[in-house]
């Protein structure tokens, strides 16, 4: 088990390092520089600015300084906002994270429930309906769902309620009510993925011998499904949680834009369009590291939850 953990940690570290290096070189290759934003500037001022931001050093030197700084938790200063990138992230990430966690929660709980229900009613109308919804959920991009919810649920219902009254706010991020619609919009895709996966794995498990034994013992169907089958059927779902976290958090960019949520997505785009090297690099590296670590945690948890993984890895 220790060997497995060390191996996974090593890969995670390597992935993060590669991400940092890729980010660095891509930002370097980007056209334009942060000081050519239309304002006239004398050569001396330009040189002084380059000196201040360390842009006159050689590229490998800059890379080493950059990596060193990142590991000290210093992502540099945004040229556009003249604020440390870490500050910007610290201000905006909580909203993104909050939205992501809510969406993930809805997706996991809802997906497990729908998948199990469809598997138990295999071949019946409920099954077909659940799977039809799942395919549609996979096929509609989250920003469209977000816009539709905003229009039909928030705007139209508020209009029906009359002036001054509202059920769901149209945009913003101040109260609990603000957080419901964005979370639903963001969760629909992953929810569909999880419920399809859950259905397949549940069907597999329901054919296992130990389920027949449980039936023969005379246990109720509810008991069999929720206590005996669910635990084993959950395993494949846990393996995709890592990638799904990545999908949810990157998907949050667009949902944030639709509902005007003060999250990190905005800075990502601004960093790119304004040639703000350090802002783009910082947000990318932060997101990358966050997602690599969450995948790592999920994988390690998988080893803890399913003893079979531990044994097979030990044999290896």
């Amino acid at each position: 088990m220790l060997k497995y953990v060390m191996k996974r940690l090593g890969y995670a570290f390597l992935t993060i390092l590669v991400l940092i290096i890729i980010t660095f070189f891509m930002i370097h290759a980007a056209p334009g520089d942060p000081f050519s934003n239309g304002k006239a500037m004398s050569e001396a001022t330009k040189l002084a600015l380059q000196e201040q931001y360390g842009l006159n050093k050689s590229v490998p030197e800059q890379l080493l300084i950059y990596i060193g700084n990142i590991f000290q938790g210093n992502l540099g200063i945004s040229t556009k906002y003249a604020r440390p990138v870490t500050k910007i992230i610290a201000d905006s990430f909580p909203a993104s994270f909050d939205l992501g966690i809510r969406a993930l929660f809805i997706a996991v709980v809802g997906g497990i429930f729908i998948g199990t229900y469809a598997a138990v009613r295999r071949g019946k109308k409920a099954d077909s309906a659940a799977m039809a919804v799942a395919v549609i959920g996979v096929s509609i991009p989250s920003f469209i769902v977000a816009a539709l919810l905003q229009y039909f649920v928030a705007l139209k219902i508020n209009q029906l309620l009359g002036p001054g009254k509202q059920l769901f706010p149209i945009s913003g991020w101040t109260s609990e009510m603000h957080k419901i619609l964005p979370a639903i919009a963001l969760s629909l895709g992953p929810l569909a993925t999880i419920s399809r996966l859950m259905r397949t794995s549940m069907l597999d498990v329901l054919h296992a011998d130990y389920i027949k034994t449980a039936k023969a013992k005379g246990l109720s169907e509810r008991m069999i499904i929720w206590k005996h089958a669910l635990r084993n059927a959950l395993m494949p779902v846990i393996t995709v949680l890592g990638p799904i976290t990545a999908t949810v958090l990157t998907g949050a960019f667009v949902v944030e834009q639709v509902f005007s949520i003060p999250g990190m997505g905005k800075y990502f785009v601004i960093g790119i369009t304004e040639n703000d090297y350090l802002l783009t690099a910082g947000t990318t590296v932060f997101y990358g590291v966050f997602l690599v670590l969450s995948t790592l945690i999920v994988d390690l948890l998988y080893g803890v939850i399913d003893p079979r993984v531990k044994i097979s890895k030990a044999k290896e």
């Binding site: 890969y11 995670a12 390597l14 992935t15 590669v18 991400l19 890729i22 980010t23 891509m26 930002i27 290759a29 980007a30 056209p31 395919v135 549609i136 996979v138 096929s139 509609i140 991009p141 920003f143 469209i144 816009a147 539709l148 905003q150 229009y151 705007l155 990545a246 999908t247 958090l249 990157t250 998907g251 960019f253 667009v254 834009q257 639709v258 997505g265 990502f268 785009v269 790119i272 369009t273 783009t280 990318t284 997101y287 990358g288 997602l291 690599v292 995948t295």
Partner: protein
């Protein structure tokens, strides 16, 4: 003595008479040779159907699959021909009637089936023009992914050993980084345009296909026909391309179909956060992005591209599922 029962004509055996007396002895000379069956001896009850032919026939019998194929054909052909044949171009502005509603006919005789956008451009043409761009991006990106994936996975699986190990670790690392982040980064250093989106998506999208092909090649490698080809001195590239890839072609086709919605989504996503094709070009993603500005007043400007994106993704997803069933002989019965 001639036996009562002649064993030569199979169809005439009466099952009621097949009670043999155990005492009777039948010697070889009691039988006479009458030659092969006269007619129908070689008759095959059912037409012999090849693998792909069988799959196609299975698909054609499925009504839903047929409808999906027709929808996709309609969208593809429409994207190719409608912008060509239309009386408006996708960038032509009609400033007298901006933000016109659906089925709008202007006093000057202009007819806009889907209305116009905030710059007075005909939405009907723009939608099909957008389909052209979105679909060509999706098809091109997925095809490139597929080629890289087959090559990479094939080499990795066939040669195995240390090379396989290194190649797979590279994939592990690329997969560890969310692909949208890499695409966004790539988009920053390249000029906006169709080629950029294709290249950016192709740079990271091949990992899944490579893994799939590698897994299949690992299994096929152990089979007799491959060993046979090896003993006959076929080169590695010949074995891979002529013997192994055709065997996994069905799997590749299914995954290709299921990858297209992903590519359409990525294009829409990038356009939506403002990294799509440059104006005045239109893709479904940029149309949706334009539409969201006026969404509260002119909802159809978003709903139309949204509908086209969704229906195309849905059709490809469902068709992929159907293809998977059709190519799986176990499910076909």
């Amino acid at each position: 003595m001639i036996p009562k029962k002649k064993p030569n004509v199979m169809s005439k055996i009466n099952h009621n008479e097949t009670v043999y007396d155990c005492d009777c002895e039948v010697s070889a000379d009691e039988f006479t040779h009458i030659g092969p069956m006269k007619n129908g001896g070689e008759h095959i009850a059912r037409r012999s159907v090849g693998y792909f032919q069988g799959a196609v026939e299975y698909l054609m019998r499925d009504k839903l699959a047929l409808i999906l194929i027709l929808i996709l054909l309609f969208i593809v052909l429409g994207s190719v021909f409608i912008p060509m044949l239309s009386s408006y171009s996708f960038r032509e502005q009609h400033l007298e009637h901006v933000n016109a509603g659906m089925f709008y006919t202007a006093p000057d005789g202009h007819h806009h089936l889907f209305g116009t956008d905030s710059l007075g451009r005909d939405l009907f043409v723009r939608i099909w023009e957008g389909g052209r761009i979105s679909l060509s991006i999706a098809f091109a990106a997925v095809l490139i992914n597929c080629l890289i994936g087959i090559l990479y996975g094939g080499i990795s699986g066939y040669f195995g050993g240390r090379l396989d190990n290194i190649l797979m670790r590279v994939i592990d690392i690329i997969n560890g980084i969310p692909y949208l982040l890499i695409i966004i980064l790539l988009m920053t250093i390249m000029k906006r345009g169709i080629a950029t989106i294709i290249i950016a998506y192709a740079a990271v999208g091949w990992c899944g296909m490579a893994r799939l092909v590698r897994g299949q090649i690992l299994q096929l490698k152990e089979q007799e026909f491959v060993i046979c080809a090896q003993t006959m001195g076929a080169s590695a590239s010949r074995i891979l391309l002529k013997h192994m890839i055709p065997n996994i072609l069905s799997l590749i086709i299914v995954n290709l179909t299921l990858a297209i919605p992903g590519a359409i989504f990525t294009e829409a996503y990038l356009s939506f956060i403002g990294l799509g094709v440059p104006i005045p070009m239109a893709s479904w993603g940029t149309l949706a992005n334009d539409g969201i500005v006026n969404f509260q007043r002119y909802a159809f400007q978003l709903l139309l591209p949204a509908f086209f994106i969704s229906i195309t993704m849905l059709s490809f997803n469902l068709l992929g599922d159907k293809l998977r069933d059709a190519f799986d002989p176990k499910l076909r019965r």
